[in-house]
């Protein structure tokens, strides 16, 4: 404690920019994440414009003239760049920093009663490496031949010079994600060690809030699987720049070459755990917030933890379900299908626990709760529609169609977005000392909830009707022409969805200055992050908290006059 205070000089550089305080770093990740979320979202609007109104000039309110030059139309190469960068930015630079970066940093030490991360300097380096990776990505927009356009999966040989994409865009893409991976690894090691080593006295593993569990499990997956993709990407980079042939084969490979399928395996060995890396923090936060806003212990919290851990293990052995159409061995296909379907068991159990937490609770529909309950809705759809894609036969038809796009947007975009909004609304008073405007929050919630379902459900419908992915103009095909109306409907819904996010941004910034000043524990939560005065000093706790309760002692009959009790306060019968 003393050491931390003495070493921090008071200059702006050290308190706001190169700060080693986990709370400041968390906010930095939050701001950067929101910036990229808006940037990636804007590109989604352009993609939707093209799909609904193919080859028509982009209107001024989508900044048509700036983005697309004089003709004002999106060309096929720009379209490919748009969906490539939309996916890449949303997954690696928006969702990852928003949940793991921002809330992993901000919440983990506070909730487990630690003064800071285990390695504060590494934490600071993690953010700035992440920042650098974002800069590398953004610089590629200024390359003469533009950014990468090989899809967010960047399958070789398309993503190699021999595949026909001109310029250095692909190499910048590979380099920036490798850097992002380095930043993620630094952060993940920090979170894992912090949880293992720095829990306050009495904070046993099962007394940790479920939000910490989710973030911790996600970090463990990060530590294991980010190195895999980093290795694969370095091989891809040498293929792109130095002429090696790890992933090149066939006519294009001069000396025999390697195997393009190898990249797909490496990519999805990481890529499937990655979707759980993105969703696990949401599951944890949802499990926790349901308990807080139902004023009731999280139902079967231990079983929820066991289920999430089981999914962590299963998630690492199911990557093959992304590759059913590559011509894999029948035995492998069946095995991957069986393993993938097994995930339905733990998922259904914690869904059951979520609903049982609400049962006989006393539900308070504050904005964080609304977003949390929306996660139950959208993740139910996202998870259940995964069954089609896990089934080898159904996937032969649905693979690489808009059905898959709709499905993973439900699981990753909608669930993570609502989880992120729940987390922002819930911890905003701790981060900025003020409350978000509840009315604006509720308008934003309902607008988002309705439009997001219209967008992603209808995406799945177009996929079911046969529309394959990454089409510049679906009207090229006779069998897709009947879908023109539904595509226009999706696009209009997407624009409405986008407009409501601007409302959120206004609320987010405006409340920072003008919002109602928050009390120390506005939601009456049990967990440790609400025990100190705002602003929380560097070092968090003046004395190490002594934890005596689990995090979910809401409405405990032994507590008099309140339906909550802080984790450090003994529940006694002595009085």
């Amino acid at each position: 404690m003393e050491g931390i205070k003495m070493s921090s000089s008071k200059s702006i550089m050290s308190t706001h920019i190169f700060s080693t305080d986990h709370k400041t770093i968390g906010k930095q990740f939050l701001f950067l994440g929101i910036f990229f979320l808006l940037f990636g979202g804007f590109q989604a609007m352009l993609i939707r414009w093209q799909l609904a109104y193919p080859e028509q000039p982009v209107p001024w309110w989508l900044f048509g003239s700036i983005v697309n030059g004089e003709a004002g139309m999106i060309t096929p190469d720009v379209y490919n760049q748009l969906f490539t960068m939309h996916g890449t930015i949303m997954i690696f630079w928006a969702i990852t920093p928003l949940l793991i970066g921002a809330f992993g940093n901000f919440v983990i030490p506070l909730q487990i009663g630690a003064k800071d991360m285990a390695f504060p300097t590494l934490n600071m380096l993690s953010f700035w490496t992440f920042f650098l990776s974002g800069v590398v990505l953004l610089v590629s927009y200024f390359l003469p031949l533009g950014v990468a356009s090989g899809g967010w999966t960047s399958y070789p040989p398309l993503s190699l010079p021999a595949g026909g994409i001109p310029g250095l865009g692909q190499a910048f893409w590979t380099l920036s994600i490798t850097l992002m991976g380095v930043a993620t690894m630094m952060g993940a090691i920090n979170y894992v060690i912090t949880v293992i080593r720095l829990r306050a006295p009495g904070m046993t593993y099962f007394r940790m809030p479920l939000s910490v569990w989710g973030l911790w499990l996600a970090s463990i997956l990060n530590v294991i699987f980010v190195p895999v993709i980093a290795a694969g990407l370095i091989m891809l980079l040498t293929d792109q720049l130095l002429g090696t042939q790890f992933f090149l084969a066939g006519r294009l490979a001069a000396g025999g070459g390697g195997d393009p399928l190898l990249f797909q395996h490496v990519f999805w060995i990481f890529g499937h755990p990655e979707v759980y890396i993105l969703i696990l923090p949401v599951w944890g936060i949802v499990s926790e917030l349901l308990s807080v806003f139902s004023r009731k212990p999280a139902f079967g919290a231990k079983i929820t933890v066991i289920c999430m851990s089981t999914i962590v293990v299963l998630s690492s052995v199911v990557w093959g379900h992304h590759m059913y159409t590559t011509g894999m061995s029948p035995l492998l296909g069946k095995t991957f299908m069986f393993l993938t379907l097994l995930i339905s068991i733990p998922s259904s159990i914690f869904f059951f626990n979520w609903l049982a937490t609400l049962w006989r609770g006393s539900l308070h529909f504050d904005p964080p709760m609304l977003h949390t309950m929306a996660v139950i809705w959208v993740f139910a759809i996202g998870g259940l529609t995964g069954l089609y894609n896990a089934t080898v036969t159904a996937d032969i038809y649905l693979h690489d169609t808009m059905f898959v796009v709709g499905h993973f947007h439900y699981t990753m975009a909608a669930s993570v977005l609502f989880g992120g909004y729940a987390a922002i609304a819930y911890w905003y008073p701790r981060m900025f000392g003020r409350m978000l405007n509840p009315l604006l929050s509720k308008i934003h919630f309902w607008g988002t909830f309705i439009s997001i379902n219209l967008v992603f459900f209808n995406m799945m419908a177009t996929g079911y009707a046969g529309q394959h992915r990454r089409l510049y103009n679906p009207g090229e095909f006779e069998f897709l022409k009947p879908l023109a109306d539904i595509n226009i409907f999706i696009t209009i819904s997407a624009f409405i969805l986008g407009a409501f996010q601007i409302l959120f941004l206004y609320n987010f910034i405006h409340s920072m200055v003008k919002g109602k000043v928050a009390e120390n524990n506005p939601w009456k939560s049990n967990t440790l992050e609400w025990t100190m005065d705002y602003p929380i000093a560097h070092g968090n706790f003046s004395t190490a908290p002594q934890v005596v309760n689990g995090p979910h002692e809401y409405s405990n009959p032994n507590v008099k006059d309140a339906d909550w009790v802080c984790q450090t306060v003994k529940i006694g019968n002595e009085s």
Binding site: K296, A298, T325, S348, L355, W359, S362, D400, F477, D563
Partner: protein
């Protein structure tokens, strides 16, 4: 049963898939329909409970929550029951349907005299198609190579296709057959299908392959056996000067020639 499921799920996707003209497409439609049914059921349970809890247990109506950790033995049994219910109602059913279909249809390649064999080699952004010709051997002078993107098949006849690619990864996607198969550099992949109805259909590339991926369209004509035989006789064989030079090297205005490979026999 199919009708009942369809009615119960109300056709949840609100649109129809492309017309199924294949022998085995119904199997895929069936497994999709069962999944429609079972996910509608489970999603219905989630939504009904959500709505009921919101109505019944909101703080105004129910100001004091019941303290319940959900960690008793009874709860544990309930949890296990939940897991088993899901396992048997979803996993086991879908798996047995899918495995049966794979064994009986999709992974059971037809053999025999009447099988029509075709080699397809997509390139950026067109489909090269090759029939073995009179000698029934690929990679010889009498191979039939129709103009790019033109594929004719006889109706009610099993078609076996082997695929590889000229450049990047493509995917041979037949919406009306509910089927697709990747074509990957350095390997030969295989698929089979059979048409039940004649007519003109489209096929597409389902794997991103570059800027004109969206234009990579092929035209499939399903016709009677006689019409097919007449059509194939009318095609010019791929006449070449010498037999030695088979490979990917030769190109004529971007159209590769002499690219056929020896048919890979499947076990």
């Amino acid at each position: 049963m199919k009708k009942i499921i369809k009615t119960m799920t109300g056709g949840i996707w609100l649109v129809d898939p492309p017309k199924d003209i294949s022998l085995n497409g119904y199997r895929i439609d069936n497994v999709i329909q069962y999944t429609d049914f079972v996910i509608t059921l489970y999603f219905g349970i989630v939504v009904v409970s959500l709505i009921f809890f919101i109505w019944r247990y909101n703080a105004r109506k129910h100001p004091h929550a019941v303290y319940d950790l959900g960690n008793t033995k009874k709860h544990r049994y309930l949890t296990v029951a939940m897991g088993l219910l899901v396992f048997f109602s979803i996993d086991v059913v879908i798996e047995s349907m899918a495995f049966k279909d794979l064994k009986e249809a999709f992974w059971k390649f037809p053999k025999g005299e009447d099988v029509v064999r075709i080699e397809i080699m997509p390139q950026q952004y067109a489909w090269n198609i090759r029939y073995p010709g009179d000698d029934d051997i690929f990679g010889t002078n009498d191979d039939i190579v129709p103009p790019q993107n033109i594929l004719h098949i006889p109706v009610n006849t099993p078609i076996v296709v082997q695929l590889t690619t000229y450049d990047v990864i493509h995917s041979f996607y037949l919406p009306n057959f509910r089927y697709k198969q990747d074509a990957t550099p350095g390997m030969v992949t295989a698929m089979w299908f059979q048409a039940k109805e004649t007519g003109d259909y489209e096929f597409a590339c389902a794997e991103l392959c570059g800027n004109s991926h969206f234009k990579m369209k092929g035209f499939l004509t399903v016709e009677s056996k006689d019409e097919f035989d007449n059509w194939i006789v009318a095609q010019e064989p791929e006449v070449t000067d010498d037999d030695d030079d088979w490979g990917f090297e030769e190109e004529d205005e971007g159209v590769p020639t002499k690219w056929g490979w020896q048919w890979k026999e499947l076990k």
